[in-house]
């Protein structure tokens, strides 16, 4: 009297199969003894009452026997009510209501006492596990679209009775097409609506082309946020597998994973806690903003307002593309291959160097403000540009080039980089050395080291940016002009 059903759990953003085993003893007791083992949390132990009620409400007898449910692997922490449906199906199979062949499904869902099935978060994980095993995936019908992102054979069900007939092949269930959810993200701002800002526009294009981290410095209202929000619009579309990874990260964070092909854009507020940004939480760690921005843009507005220690902890994950979070014996690695766009005022009041509004800051205050920004994080920005206030005349004038035109140049530059093997952002010194540079380029770099105190790391950063500029230019060799422009675009602050 043994049966098993597959379900799924998320470890980090990686879905992991969970085998729900049910055993019903042959000996009748005075009353049903129902126990769940295998590192269940409190909400799973409550499943006993829900499963028992739902089975009875569906019209089946709940046997007065010893029933043991094991969630394997036992060392994987499992949370939530998502295992109600697989537990109920397992118990029904173990008592013979369902034939063993009918439980070759991946199931996930919460049961109501009357037997209705509610969708739970993590449906995408079940879909991915089902897809890998080639099994149908049974989830609450409201969660069908999420699970279908995986491309698996997803059957939405409304009740336990419905699930039983789907398992028995009597009912197809509600089938969700694999590509149903359209992007729910607001469309990125089009660069055509950004007026003026010629040097900042150029920097945004270069940053997008090479995946470089970008710092925008300017007074309030200059359009820093607009420029940052335009960034996803000029980045190349995600590939289907990248889009699925992004959807997984969002699903793991408990957010609707309908992402589409646009790279994500996340803009955490500077008052956000380290756990909200890096990932964490009690129990099983959930991904933070850093991971939600994976393969997209992480926008840090008012960079100087973020706590210094938080900016310091961001440094390594941004460099590595992974953030490691350890909680209560579980250590998970969340992906965070983000492109950072940060914005800051030039001084506490924001108007230093502005043409109309006087700056009200004392210069020690300006120095203190800048000191918060300086240091290792600032060093990570290949591009640092000034975004001045746009005069009324320019605002009334014609808009700039549209995002679509910029994106086609960015895509061309990205293709060159793909052929070389890596994004320019992650080119190491050896990689840079092996690329062709003109003598003029070398000479300019040498004099920048001499006269502007360019450090070794700065030297590599300028070369990376210069390489991207050359890629945008369609030039195989990086010239003095490319290096000069790269130098000019790291001047702010």
């Amino acid at each position: 009297m043994f049966a098993s059903v597959t379900s799924a759990a998320l470890v980090g953003v990686e879905p992991s199969p969970v085998r729900v085993e049910a055993h019903v003893s042959g000996i009748t007791s005075k009353q049903a003894v129902f126990s769940i083992v295998g590192l269940p949390d409190a909400s799973i132990r409550e499943a006993r009452q829900r499963v028992q009620s739902a089975i009875i409400a569906t019209g089946h007898r709940f046997p007065n026997r010893r029933i043991t449910v094991n969630l394997a692997p036992a060392d994987l922490p499992k949370v939530g009510s998502a295992y109600d449906l697989p537990i109920a199906l397992g118990v029904l199979a173990a008592i013979g209501v369902l034939p063993p062949i009918a439980t070759k499904v991946v199931a996930m869902g919460e049961l109501a006492l009357d037997g209705a099935v509610r969708a739970v978060r993590g449906g995408l994980a079940a879909g991915i596990v089902a897809g890998r095993r080639g099994l149908p995936c049974i989830v609450g019908s409201a969660g069908g679209a999420e699970a279908a992102l995986s491309g698996a054979d997803v059957r939405g069900v409304t009740s336990l009775a419905h699930a039983i007939s789907v398992c028995l092949g009597e009912d197809p269930g509600e089938i969700s097409p694999a590509d149903s959810p359209a992007s729910v993200l607001p469309p990125p701002i089009d660069l055509a609506s950004v007026r003026g800002q010629s040097s900042a526009r150029r920097a945004v294009e270069i940053a997008a082309a090479g995946g470089h981290h970008l710092l925008l410095v300017g007074p309030p209202g200059a359009g820093k946020t607009m420029l940052a929000r335009a960034m996803p619009g000029i980045l190349p579309d995600l590939t289907p597998s990248e889009a699925l990874e992004v959807a997984q990260a969002h699903a793991a964070g408990g957010r609707p994973p309908a992402v589409g092909r646009r790279p994500p854009f996340r803009s955490p507020h500077h008052s956000a806690t380290p756990a909200a940004i890096l990932g964490g939480g009690s129990g099983v760690p959930v991904p933070g903003e850093l991971t939600l921005a994976d393969r997209g843009v992480l926008f840090l507005d008012e960079l100087a307002e973020f706590p210094t220690h938080l900016l310091d902890t961001l440094r390594q994950p941004i460099e590595e593309g992974w953030v490691h979070v350890a909680r209560k014996g579980v250590s998970v690695a969340f992906p965070c291959r983000v492109q950072v766009v940060a914005a800051t005022n030039p001084c506490p009041c924001g108007y230093l160097g502005d043409s109309r509004t006087p700056c009200r800051c004392s210069s020690p205050a300006v120095d203190r403000y800048r000191a918060r920004l300086s240091g290792p994080l600032l060093d990570r920005f290949d591009l640092r540009v000034t975004v001045p206030r746009v005069e009324a005349a320019a605002l009334l004038g014609a808009g700039g080039e549209a995002s679509s035109a910029v994106r086609s140049r960015v895509e061309a530059a990205r293709r060159v980089q793909e052929a070389r093997g890596s994004l320019n952002r992650s080119l190491g010194r050896d990689g840079l050395d092996s690329l062709p540079w003109t003598e003029g380029a070398g000479g300019l770099l040498a004099s920048a080291m001499d006269r502007q105190g360019l450090t070794g790391r700065g030297w590599d950063r300028v070369r990376r940016t210069a390489r991207t500029i050359a890629d945008l230019d369609g030039s195989g060799v990086a010239t003095g002009d490319h290096v000069a422009e790269a130098l000019a675009l790291r001047g702010a602050l």
């Binding site: 109309r356 006087p358 210069s363 000034t386 300019l444 000019a488």
Partner: protein, 350 residues
């Protein structure tokens, strides 16, 4: 009154008006100093007298001279003042060249900063001396402009000559002296820059100058005080007009309404000043003669004679951003272009 007593009185660091009324009441500087030593002057610590005496020993080491009213080396222009400072502490060289003051608010906009810097450069190019207060904002920008062009500047402080305020103008202060200018004050070494010391300081700024140019000023503030003192002293007052709704220009616009001469640009200023100070002694360098580089670099340098933002430069030249940015970086590396507060400025020798 003996010379020593007058210097000792100056070392008390009193407000000039108070010092004068005390001397009138007690008959001589010596009597006031003796009274101070006994603790007979309200609000003045007798220790101050002893500290002053100690400090006088250090004067030579601090490279600071004392110049008394009526003695050789005392600026003749200050004779016009109703209340000329009796003692001046001078570091550097005071030259008998025609001088013009360029002053303004510490809380300036980049518009004011740009003009102050351009005026400083034009004054230097004309061979005149630029007088200002070494303060943040307009004063500092004007001084820097003068130094950029190898001109002579005089800073009048509201503190002791060894107390640089703001502290980050230390380099500017030292450069002023090294480049043949001077830093003067009527307050003894060690004097803190208390707010009440600045209005009397302003009468020296205007007194030293034949004309006072106010670049930006709010409704209240030292720049307007300087302009009023200048008018009382019979100096010409110039003011830079600005947007009527711009806080930092209200003072200037008020001055123009009340009869100040509006300044319509650096060249206009030189023209106006030539009538008062005589023709410029140094020939204005023509751009061609100074060897502007050919091509984009030259155009960029010519446009950056006064501070300009990169985006303005790109728009003004009608060239693509990459071309202009590359030229800017090259010129920066060559030291021909500098960045100040996010604005680009061609450096000396153009």
């Amino acid at each position: 009154m003996s010379r020593g007593d007058r210097i000792a009185l100056a070392f008390l660091g009193l407000h000039p008006d108070r010092a004068r009324s005390l001397v009138e009441r007690h008959g001589s500087a010596g009597a006031v100093v003796r009274l101070a030593r006994r603790g007979g002057i309200e609000g003045l610590d007798p220790d101050r007298v002893r500290r002053g005496e100690a400090c006088r020993m250090e004067m030579d080491r601090a490279d600071c001279r004392v110049v008394l009213h009526g003695e050789p080396g005392y600026p003749a222009a200050l004779e016009d003042l109703g209340d000329p400072p009796d003692v001046l502490f001078v570091r550097g060289t005071l030259r008998p060249l025609p001088a013009v003051a360029v002053v303004g608010t510490r809380r300036c906009t980049s518009y004011g900063r740009r003009l102050a810097s351009a005026f400083g450069r034009e004054v230097a190019r004309a061979g005149w001396v630029l007088v200002s207060g070494l303060a943040r904002g307009i004063d500092g920008a004007a001084h820097r402009g003068t130094i950029d062009r190898g001109g002579v500047g005089v800073a009048v402080l509201g503190s002791g000559s060894d107390v640089v305020y703001p502290a980050d103008h230390r380099h500017l202060h030292d450069t002023l002296i090294e480049s043949g200018g001077a830093v003067i004050t009527e307050y003894p070494p060690g004097t803190r820059p208390n707010g009440w010391r600045f209005p009397p300081r302003n009468r020296i700024i205007s007194g030293l100058s034949k004309a006072v140019v106010v670049v930006e000023a709010g409704v209240t503030g030292g720049a307007l005080v300087t302009a009023l003192r200048a008018a009382e002293q019979g100096r010409a007052v110039f003011a830079v007009p600005g947007d009527v709704d711009r806080e930092a220009s209200i003072g200037c616009n008020l001055l123009i309404r009340d009869g100040a001469i509006p300044v319509l640009g650096p060249e206009d200023l030189v023209e106006g000043l030539s009538l008062l100070l005589g023709p410029p002694t140094r020939a204005p360098g023509s751009p061609a003669a100074s060897g502007l580089p050919a091509g984009v670099d030259g155009v960029v340098l010519a446009s950056a004679r006064s501070p300009i933002a990169v985006d303005e430069l790109i728009a003004a030249l009608g060239l693509t951003a990459p071309t202009v940015l590359a030229a800017v970086a090259r010129l920066e590396l060559d030291g021909r272009l500098v960045r100040r507060d996010g604005l680009l400025l061609a450096s000396e020798g153009i």
